[in-house]
Symmetry: C2
Subunit: 212 residues, 2 copies
């Protein structure tokens, strides 16, 4: 992938997203804004696209994103993940009781995890000064084994659920209760790096050949 | 899960299997035998069950497995993973050329990953002195994006494929090329810990209540 002239900025504080992007061999910086999330969409796939766009835009607007001392093009990647079950959207739990409530809801059934990704490409020497935007989302189905009340309490006591949408991390202790998935695993962790790489490959090469 | 009186031994040299079992909160030891693999089965699910059984039996037969100085029951877990594509079974690549051949085969299509697990339970005070045996396998479908020759060469140059069945590790750099899966992700990494935990929960509690 030809990306030498492009600074890539991940607009996320999540250490899991950072690890995933590094794992596939990408070089990038991390910048986080304190954007206030405003949701106008209702469908889960649209909600995560909207929120990922707000995160990416807020970082691109930060002075640090542009005053790098280099004259490279900039690509900002924003991402947002939610869990949806019975048409209810589950974010991060408010407290341990809320985490238990979410896990009871997910126990013994299949739910969906949505991650939205927005890429903003600000070319080095734009012919028209405009920022290119590309947004997509991935949905993965996750099937949980039944959990007893004791198992839910044991898992919540590990604190692992507290900073995660839907009150679980598929990559930790909770793997005990995951029967299987349908779709991209890394999408559940927080960043669909397979789809991201493939989209970048086509899109960025296109942008670079036309703008630089 | 009530398993205090049982020593659990993982009969595998794979660091990935070790990590997965530790991740779900299991306490266990690792013992590895130099068992010679003999395959009589032909179907992938039967092959991995057979090989996982040979690994578990070889470890249970080792003096170290029984001379622990404790009087606990022993549970040995053996596992074996293969990749199947077009009814061909892919093991670990012999060399870099072999790895490239396998990746060309997997590129742009869906294949299956089979992991067989055998659990041997040797009770502390058996009424009839016998070892209980339980075997199962899990199958996960994995869909690869198309890989160019340059991408295959780049991935093989990372050396990541060389010690892995089918010449790829789903949890590394190769995540770039994974479009999605159907089934248990950890089964592809090498140990279906979700199924393993659920099977153990029912089976071991049963064994312990009847034998100890």
């Amino acid at each position: 992938m030809k990306m030498k002239k492009t600074r890539i900025i991940l607009a996320s504080a999540s250490p899991r997203r950072r690890e995933l992007l590094a794992q596939i061999g990408m070089e990038f910086e991390v910048m986080v804004s304190n954007v206030e999330e405003r949701v106008t969409a209702t469908l889960p796939g649209e909600v995560v696209q909207e929120l990922s766009g707000q995160k990416a835009e807020a970082v691109l607007a930060m002075p640090q994103a542009k005053e790098s001392g280099t004259d490279a093009s900039i690509l900002v990647i924003g991402a947002d993940t939610i869990v949806a079950c019975d048409n209810k959207i589950l974010g991060k739990p408010a407290d341990e009781e809320d985490a238990k409530r979410m896990l009871r809801l997910l126990s013994g059934r299949t739910h969906e995890v949505y991650t939205g990704v927005t890429m903003l490409f600000s070319p080095q020497s734009p012919a028209d000064g405009s920022v290119r935007r590309h947004t997509f989302f991935e949905c993965t189905k996750v099937c949980f084994a039944p959990m007893t009340e004791a198992e839910i309490a044991e898992y919540v006591a590990t604190k692992d659920p507290m900073d995660k949408a839907g009150a679980y991390g598929i990559q930790g202790f909770c793997a005990r209760y995951i029967k299987g998935i349908e779709g991209d695993y890394n999408n559940v962790v927080g960043l669909p790096v397979g789809r991201l790489y493939q989209e970048l490959k086509g899109w960025l090469e296109n942008e670079e050949s036309s703008d630089i």
